[in-house]
């Protein structure tokens, strides 16, 4: 990992470690169900124990997302969400919580605005970095440049299927943390954490990653406990989105409090 540039997500994860916790990272879609409610929900998330907030940009063709997130992001788009709205959301959330805020985005949305412009506006809003589910380091030339220029974290994904040389490439290309995909599949709550997850994390650590966080299929406090035994952070998405869908922003705060009980190591 490139460490010479300050990394907001690394600081948050290290702070959690110092406090004897596994970092907790929560995902919510921007603009769902409305822009204001998505801000409220993210603030609830941040003020109830999330170290890092991942704001998902709604996209017309979300190939890595399961039904719950697909439906939520489609609804946000139907309600008129525009990509540039995300900067306002990030600004509000960073000013009203202590969490680091990253954006999860399919690459065409960044490409269309222009990688430099997107990065500049995001950094100005107080953003910490991007999680890029359909961007591999080989295609990320412009993003390397812009993320260095604006001091943003590059959170690439590593998967159970990644061969050793790709794990190394991902680890070397990332800054902040590496996103370990727990299972071969798409987003969505699952009963148990895949038993592939531990190995994905170990391989990324062995390749030199100081921080590896696990996502996909994590929805219960005991999942968070389990992941805390081998990883540096747990990423929850679908469970939060379902709570928001069914019971509104307040419910996101409640479920977050419940989930982070699993993040404490003592």
């Amino acid at each position: 990992m490139t460490e010479s540039i300050r990394s907001l997500t690394a600081e948050k994860i290290e702070q959690a470690r110092a406090e004897g916790r596994t970092a907790f990272i929560g995902y919510l879609p921007a603009g769902y169900p409305t822009i204001d409610d998505s801000i409220e929900a993210a603030v609830q998330l941040g003020n109830n124990g999330a170290d890092i907030i991942e704001i998902g940009l709604p996209y017309s063709d979300p190939v890595m997302d399961g039904e719950v997130i697909q439906k939520a992001t489609a609804e946000a788009l139907q309600n008129g969400f525009r990509v540039a709205d995300v900067f306002h959301i990030v600004k509000e959330v960073t000013s009203r919580t202590d969490a680091a805020v990253v954006i999860m985005t399919y690459w065409n949305l960044v490409d269309r605005m222009g990688v430099d412009e997107f990065s500049r506006r995001f950094a100005e809003a107080g953003g910490a970095g991007l999680v890029t589910p359909d961007l591999v380091p080989e295609e990320a030339g412009e993003w390397f440049e812009a993320s260095d220029k604006y001091e943003l974290d590059r959170i690439f994904l590593t998967a159970p299927s990644s061969p050793d040389e790709r794990v190394k490439l991902t680890v070397d290309s990332s800054r902040g943390f590496v996103y370990a995909v727990s299972v071969m599949g798409i987003t969505g709550a699952r009963g148990e954490v895949s038993n592939a997850a531990e190995r994905v994390v170990r391989r990324a650590h062995d390749a030199g990653a100081p921080r590896v966080c696990v996502g996909l299929g994590i929805s219960e406090p005991h999942h968070v406990v389990e992941i805390g035994s081998y990883a540096d952070g747990a990423i929850v998405g679908t469970a939060l989105v379902s709570a928001l869908r069914d019971n509104g922003p307040q419910a996101v705060g409640e479920i977050t409090r419940n989930l982070v009980t699993g993040a404490s190591k003592n």
């Binding site: 996209y59 439906k71 490409d111 359909d134 961007l135 994904l157 998967a159 299927s161």
Partner: protein, 429 residues
């Protein structure tokens, strides 16, 4: 990034030598990390296979004895008769087993799937032709098969849904998004991420991440190679122009490839103009001219200012896709090939004309190419390039890729031409 001026791209190399992963600035692998290992495996298997005489022999044997290759090159004089001095020939991919060019690629990739030890094929389909071809190969090789199809397309291509199911495939109707081809690709990719150990994603056109654009092209190159030889045999010269419809662009690149370095052969790709490019209801991303990344490749896309994909519209399900293969984007920028939109109504006029004048009912997709041929022929006549007095050896020759037959489109066409009573009309839409 907006469209560079046609011809502005510097390219002094040999067009036929183009390999992936990039075609100029297009192509690449904009994919989830989870699929990168699978793409690598496909690519390695492909590169090894095409140097393996055993693989080539097996492919050639299936081409000859299963697909029915070479396909004919048929002259269509009555179709061309309003354009004296122009000869139009049809490359008869409609006569292939299963009724379209799609089978060429499917047989090739199914052989690769077997080499990789995969036991299941998945595919997306729009018109149903690629799904039918994939279901056919699965039956032939004893593989499981799941085909994703937008719900809108399962309705307008109901006959092909029944064909796939009869062949033993499971057809999954996709009910999210616009419910057409792009959404079927999204679902197939979601399946593949979770099933990649046992499953090969048999992508049906020259889009997607590397190595698909190059690999799918490879299996279709036979179209242009045959057409080139047949043209020399039947007319004593190379054609003046070759024309194909462009959805993702597989039948077009298959035909073009053999002629890419014949500088005097013009290459035309006809995009689906739908209700007209100016109406926004079309499937002509090159005409629209906006570059982005979709389904693994950088290419021309139908997208809005934010980069959200715009729903495409075309009377032909097989052309109803908001992107185009990256090599076509490159050929457009270099000026080596010319891309034009053809509207639904021009395509349907050509559909009817070929059916009535030659007794050949084309797929509506292919009818876009036929309309392009009529347009070019009319221009040559109007410009005085040829007329009734032009001696045969100086007449202009056009080869049209008749990529598929029209059986699947009878109900859509009958509705278009008002040949079914009102209360049955929705069956075709």
């Amino acid at each position: 990034m907006e469209r560079p001026a046609p011809g502005s791209y510097e390219h002094d190399g040999d067009f036929q030598q183009l390999e992936g992963p990039y075609f100029g600035r297009y192509g690449g692998q904009w994919m989830p990390e989870s699929l990168m290992a699978a793409l690598q495996e496909v690519e390695e298997t492909f590169r090894k296979a095409i140097k393996d005489p055993e693989f080539i022999a097996e492919l050639n044997d299936l081409n000859t004895n299963y697909i029915n290759r070479p396909s004919l090159l048929t002259e269509a004089p009555r179709f061309a008769q309003d354009h004296p001095g122009v000869r139009i020939f049809l490359k008869r991919e409609d006569l292939n087993h299963t009724g379209s060019h799609k089978i060429n690629n499917v047989i090739g990739q199914a052989l690769l799937a077997k080499r990789m030890g995969k036991t299941r094929l998945i595919a997306e389909t729009g018109a149903g032709q690629h799904g039918v071809a994939t279901a056919t190969a699965a039956a032939l090789f004893g593989l499981e098969c799941t085909v994703y199809m937008g719900e809108a397309d399962t309705k307008r291509q109901a006959l092909n849904v029944a064909r796939m199911e009869m062949l033993g495939a499971e057809v999954k109707a996709v009910t999210i998004g616009a419910r057409t081809l792009k959404d079927a690709i999204n679902e197939a990719l979601r399946d593949w991420v979770a099933s990649v150990d046992t499953t090969h994603y048999l992508l049906g056109t020259v889009t997607g991440p590397a190595p698909f654009p190059e690999m799918v092209r490879y299996f279709h190159q036979v179209i242009g190679d045959e057409a080139r030889e047949q043209s020399l045999e039947q007319t004593g010269k190379l054609p003046d122009a070759v024309i194909a419809c462009v959805g993702g662009g597989s039948n077009a690149i298959g035909l073009f490839h053999g002629f890419l370095d014949d500088k005097n052969v013009q290459l035309y790709g006809m995009e689906a103009g739908g209700a007209g490019v100016e109406t926004g209801k079309h499937a002509a991303p090159i005409a629209l001219g906006r570059v982005g990344v979709l389904h693994g490749a950088r290419t021309y896309l139908m997208q809005d200012e934010d980069g959200q994909t715009i729903d495409s519209h075309s009377i032909s399900a097989g052309l109803d896709y908001p992107g185009v293969g990256p090599q076509h984007a490159f050929l457009h920028d270099t000026g080596r090939a010319i891309y034009q939109p053809v509207s639904d109504s021009e395509a349907m006029d050509a559909f009817k004309l070929l059916t009535r004048s030659e007794g050949i009912m084309p797929a509506i997709e292919s009818s876009h190419a036929l309309a392009g041929a009529l347009r070019l022929a009319a221009k040559w006549v109007a410009d005085g390039v040829v007329d009734e007095t032009t001696p045969q050896d100086e007449q202009k020759v056009i080869i049209v890729n008749l990529s598929g037959r029209g059986d699947k489109d009878v109900s859509t066409a009958a509705t278009w031409f008002g040949m079914v009573p009102e209360d049955h009309a929705e069956a075709g839409e």
